[in-house]
Symmetry: C2
């Protein structure tokens, strides 16, 4: 294991971490509490030590690198992201936030010495929910959202329980400090955007005003299956026809209601799904996201009215099953403004935006002020071996984070 | 085997034939050249004999029941339908046309004696294309559309060839007369409607003016798969959004172009088909039918123009693969008018219509004048154990056919 790298380039550290869980397609797979996950988390622990930070684990396997502040009994500024990945994910998602935080802190310490306030770089054990049916295990354990009792009976695809896997990695046995913390001053996360907003605007830093709320539905249209040749158009109860009208309108409604609103129909299934039979039933998914609960409510109300009208007009049935509801989380206004100003002062082109994807920041948001900084993602591609952020953009993010940490801690 | 039934009710004969190939769900499966098919065709042969007709097979297994005309050297009036079924089909599809023809002829002979012109009741060996990748093997062999050379290499799902199966049933070896005929005066088919036109109009007899032409396509929309949360609406290349607009328009266009036009999108597939990913590709089937080639052409031209406009406007790709093209077949105008008048004279409410499904009549149409008579199908249901036509409607069809045959043969 390499404990230090002969460089200060973020990309070199990211490529180093990408050795752990490298897949044959050039991606990374580090599922929680697997051997590659443990190797990566231990490598991060060693990097913390190599950079002169006080490294320690908590009892769920979050790894910290601390630089103690000169002022006694201050709460910690926590900055970092998650070490786990999706299956065959990219090198940057999560890993960049850990590396970026480590480099920002180490550069500040090299230049200005110890800060007034304690800074903890954190490598969160889990965010993606890719192995067990639970996401945000790392940040959730720190903020008290989850306790070990919550994970009873959570099994992976092989039938191994989360608790069992945790203990097999040496955690969950009280050997380390309890994960729950009440001494966090604020949480700051640096992350790749995973979208194309910055790429299109040309700005290098995006400061999230909020992480969007998200609702997911399955919409089912029930008509009557019938012969494609012998059933005249006016005698049809064509579930596909109505489903396509609904999808068109749902997407149009999203475009009209607000420019930050998104609606996605990603999944569709027709029954019996045969070329010469009019579909008797069509089901499709609907994923809607926006940073305002009011706006999400308004969309849903309009959808309900529209569906009711369409049912009346078509004499077909429309049923809606909502299976996910995540509330929007606003970032701290002051901290966000400070992040914006700090980035701007370093000469970087910066903008406000919304995060369309979930992040650990939203979990910390229930306990402390938070800020979320983005750098561009090439083509917006993420959760893929093709995920990429240019070296200069990685460095810009480290500079922006360092500028904010300086304001906060020095 | 029962050679005669103590009744003149069509329904009794249909229920009798339904014994051959009865399935556990109440349906019928009589695939070409299977034991249940052979038993059914032999039962029909015996019924022909029991009704006093001269019964004979041809060398592909079509069964005939002939009543010789009193005028020498006349071509035959041929009337009948097919004995085979789809898997788990209904009792009426095909079988009714054979039974109806047999009863119509036997009633005419009972009442008026031998006709002037020879009438052949035919039980065609195959129409559905359910066992081998070929349809209309019976009528195709009679009309010269198919020869035995055409079937080399046609295998069923078990790898048995059509020729092998035919020989195993005693056909295809020259023991019977060659199937090809050039002595057919006209062909008349009585069939259940398999649609709801008669049920809705309340008429008992439908006289087909034409069997519709049919074209089938696979339409593929190519966009870009992307994150459902981080990709604003204006940056999307959402293949589902465009596909739903196309489907809506394709269906609307069918409604507008002509009341007899039908368009069906029965199959759809999205990629990757995940709720939180904008589909990068959506493929769907399109089945269009109409009795006029010009109208089908016009629809296709408008579709091409519309797709081109949509490609330009959306910057997504649209590709169209046409994989079926069956031309419309007009029924003989004089014979059809005579069928209408004869039915009307018997006091039955009758109407002209189009056949949205394919029938043996369309194959005979290339060789001789044809007429196609429909009776109502309950709920339009066909190719299902639920297929049903009421006894009185079955009788109405026999009366209408008998009236037409009287005009033609006596």
């Amino acid at each position: 294991m390499i404990n230090s790298l002969e460089t200060e380039q973020a990309s070199a550290y990211i490529h180093y971490l990408a050795r752990f869980g490298k897949t044959s397609d050039g991606g990374n797979t580090r599922l929680l509490y697997t051997p590659t996950w443990l190797e990566a988390q231990q490598a991060v622990f060693s990097l913390f030590q190599a950079k002169g930070l006080d490294a320690f684990f908590d009892d769920v396997g979050n790894a910290y690198g601390r630089i103690e502040g000169t002022l006694a009994s201050q709460a910690s500024i926590v900055t970092g992201s998650h070490i786990d990945t999706v299956s065959s994910g990219g090198k940057f998602d999560g890993a960049y936030g850990i590396i970026g935080s480590l480099l920002a802190v180490s550069r500040l310490v090299s230049r200005y010495g110890r800060p007034k306030k304690t800074i903890d770089v954190v490598s969160l054990c889990e965010e993606e929910g890719s192995r067990f049916p639970l996401a945000f295990w790392g940040s959730g354990s720190i903020t008290g959202r989850y306790e070990q009792a919550d994970i009873d009976g959570l099994l992976d695809a092989s039938g191994i329980s989360l608790g069992e896997a945790m203990r097999a990695n040496g955690f969950g046995q009280g050997h380390y400090q309890a994960p729950r913390r009440t001494d966090i001053d604020c949480f700051i996360e640096l992350h790749i955007e995973q979208g194309q907003v910055l790429e299109h605007s040309g700005n290098k830093i995006g400061i999230a005003k909020a992480i969007v709320g998200q609702r997911r539905f399955t919409v089912t249209v029930e008509g009557a299956a019938n012969h494609a040749g012998t059933t005249p158009m006016h005698m049809r109860k064509d579930a596909m026809e109505l489903a396509s009208r609904l999808i068109t309108r749902l997407v149009d409604k999203a475009r009209k209601i607000d420019e930050a609103f998104v609606a996605t129909v990603g999944q569709i299934e027709a029954f019996p799904n045969t070329a010469n039979v009019i579909p008797g039933k069509v089901s499709f998914s609907l994923d809607i996201r926006h940073h305002s609960t009011n706006m999400l409510d308004r969309y849903c109300e309009e959808m309900e009215t529209f569906f009711h009208e369409q049912e009346q007009a078509s004499q077909l049935g429309i049923s809606v099953d909502q299976w996910a509801d995540v509330a929007p989380v606003a970032m701290d206004a002051d901290l966000t403004a400070l992040a914006f100003q700090s980035a701007q002062k370093t000469g970087l082109p910066v903008q406000y935006m919304y995060s369309g994807a979930g992040h650990d920041t939203q979990i910390f948001g229930s306990c402390c002020p938070t800020a979320l900084l983005f750098v561009p993602s090439k083509g917006g591609i993420s959760h893929s071996p093709l995920e990429f952020t240019a070296d200069e953009d990685l460095e810009a993010g480290v500079s922006a984070l360092a500028a904010l940490l300086y304001k906060l801690a020095y």
